[in-house]
Symmetry: C2
Subunit: 345 residues, 2 copies
């Protein structure tokens, strides 16, 4: 008979419309049997160590099916997302007890993972394990694929990044500098603006909340226009950027966080610029670049070890603080990559 232990979980209490509130989520305690059921081929029983708070999770908190996307969370069940976990028991040939993995897991202390197609075994453990929710995980791969693969940066080009101090943005800025580009970032507080300039090496940064006219702000920072825009926010910022793009500009559409809590998204009015400047706009999901993960690691691991790329994390402690951490993404409360610490390896 396997051990039965208590299992703290974060469950979805209400489907969300508008801005998510902490009270839409609830911490409950359930129990879990610490073995893998007989009929669960390839399953993994894991202890969760770190959970990732990502803006895309907002779409799963709404009660709607989105074609081609992961579905809504189940009301009354634990939510799920990217995380770092330790394998307690494995029925999967590629994983064994004691392995560290990253991928989709539950927001709870222990999880039985049955969808194992998109799990990665963590081989390099000399760096902080929490990095596998960020720079070495999905956000890192997102920044890498969205910037290098889709935007093909060239030395001397002008790059703009919105939500630039976030999990993805801080990396895009550093990738741009490593590529010899001029890079400007926008963020929502002075603290984040300072971080962009002093920690991540952006050439310039500004607080978009203090700019009445985003078009004028961009003209100030990009008198010659923008070659590459890494889009994390959407809405009015996108229209302002479109007006300031240069001929043959590229826009990597990674996220539209300003729109996720609106029942009706804002209209975009300046798409005529795509024609006038022969602009390419490309949307993507991190999943599109999963096959590049080994190549990505090969590039980034030495750069982290040599201190040529840095990463700022915002760590909430415990599942009790999970709801606040997740909801805080949408008011910009986090400084750097938001994650939750559940346990240490």
């Amino acid at each position: 008979m396997a051990e039965v232990v208590s299992n703290k979980q974060v469950i979805l209490k209400e489907y969300v419309t508008g801005f998510p509130k902490e009270s839409d989520l609830q911490v409950t305690t359930s129990t879990i049997q610490l073995n893998i059921p007989q009929d669960c081929n390839n399953g993994l029983l894991v202890k969760n160590l770190y959970l990732s708070c990502d803006p895309y999770m907002r779409t799963r908190m709404a009660n709607r099916q989105i074609q081609g996307y992961v579905g809504s969370f189940q009301l009354g069940s634990e939510i799920s997302g990217y995380g770092v976990s330790k394998v307690i028991e494995s029925a999967h040939p590629n994983f064994k007890t004691g392995d560290l993995i990253w991928g989709i897991t539950g927001w709870e202390e222990y999880s039985l993972i049955t969808k194992t197609e998109a799990l990665f075994k963590i081989e390099d453990t000399d760096l902080p394990l929490s990095y596998y929710t960020g720079i070495l995980g999905m956000p890192g791969l997102t920044a890498y694929g969205g910037f290098f693969e889709l935007c093909s940066p060239k030395e001397g080009e002008y790059v703009f990044v919105s939500a630039a101090s976030g999990a993805v943005g801080q990396l895009v800025g550093q990738f741009a500098k490593l590529s010899g580009c001029y890079v400007v970032g926008s963020a929502g507080t002075q603290e984040k603006v300072d971080l962009l300039k002093n920690k991540f090496g952006f050439d310039e940064a500004f607080n978009y909340k203090e700019e009445e006219d985003l078009n004028a702000a961009l003209k100030r920072y990009f008198p010659k226009g923008i070659d590459i825009y890494f889009e994390n926010v959407g809405g009015k910022m996108l229209d302002a950027v479109l007006l300031n793009m240069r001929k043959n500009g590229r826009i990597s559409v990674c996220g539209l966080i300003s729109q996720y809590n609106l029942e009706q998204p804002q209209g975009i009015y300046c798409l005529g610029q795509l024609i006038l400047k022969s602009i390419r706009m490309q949307g993507f999901l991190a999943f599109d670049f999963y096959h590049l993960y080994p190549k990505f690691l090969e590039m980034i691991l030495p750069k982290i070890r040599q201190g040529k790329i840095v990463y700022v994390e915002d760590k909430a402690q415990g599942l009790e603080n999970g709801a606040a951490a997740l909801v805080g993404l949408f008011s910009g409360r986090n400084v750097g990559k938001q994650l939750i610490v559940i346990a240490n390896a």
Copy 2:
């Protein structure tokens, strides 16, 4: 002393806001000296044969400077656009008297062309010369570059073309069929819908004016979704298409004719689909593909001669009917490529 002849011209009388009216243009008669002034190096004196009516000309009829684009027409001066002309006198080493050319010329009987960088000499004269305002000119190159270069069509893919019976659309549909794609076109009259199906070989076609719900219409014609959208119209059609795109879809943004007469363009609300389906949207100008013109001719000339590609033109007679022809583009009065016949070679 050179001959001085009378020169009928179409001049811009009023800068346009909203829908252009025939009365915004006016036919006047000026005179022109039939030789090239001493100081006009590389100039050409031409007799204009055919003039092309193109939607982009609307932007030049407004009183505003658009960055990166050709400027506004001069009030009180003849307007200009693509045309087919015969060289009367040449100060340019690449052209001689009697040559036939296509490129930007004036809306008048005779023109002194001083900007000669983007003129093409017509070598193949066994086909109708008027084709060099359409299938063998800028619209042809636009369809070719926008479809083959930007959309990389694959056999069996689902293609949608808006404004499908126009100068560019009718070619995109035929290119799609030659590529083994399934292609549906939209147009604004039953006559055009019939043309798409019976003359150009579209698999299906519909009258967008008779569809209350464009999203539902596209779902009917594309139950499996759209791989490639060749965008000529913008506005509500673009939003409906975005909702129906498939994973890794491509949108070639050629024109947004539904928006050109609005003082404030309509908002686009469904760009979140770019992320969910990893869609690429690419704007362009015909100019981007000028270097491919020889390759394009090599492809299309034999296909026209063999009857494998057909082309429908809508010919207005004389400069007196030029204003009506140009303005008619925006109400969809033309059936096929709209051009004006000034004189025969």
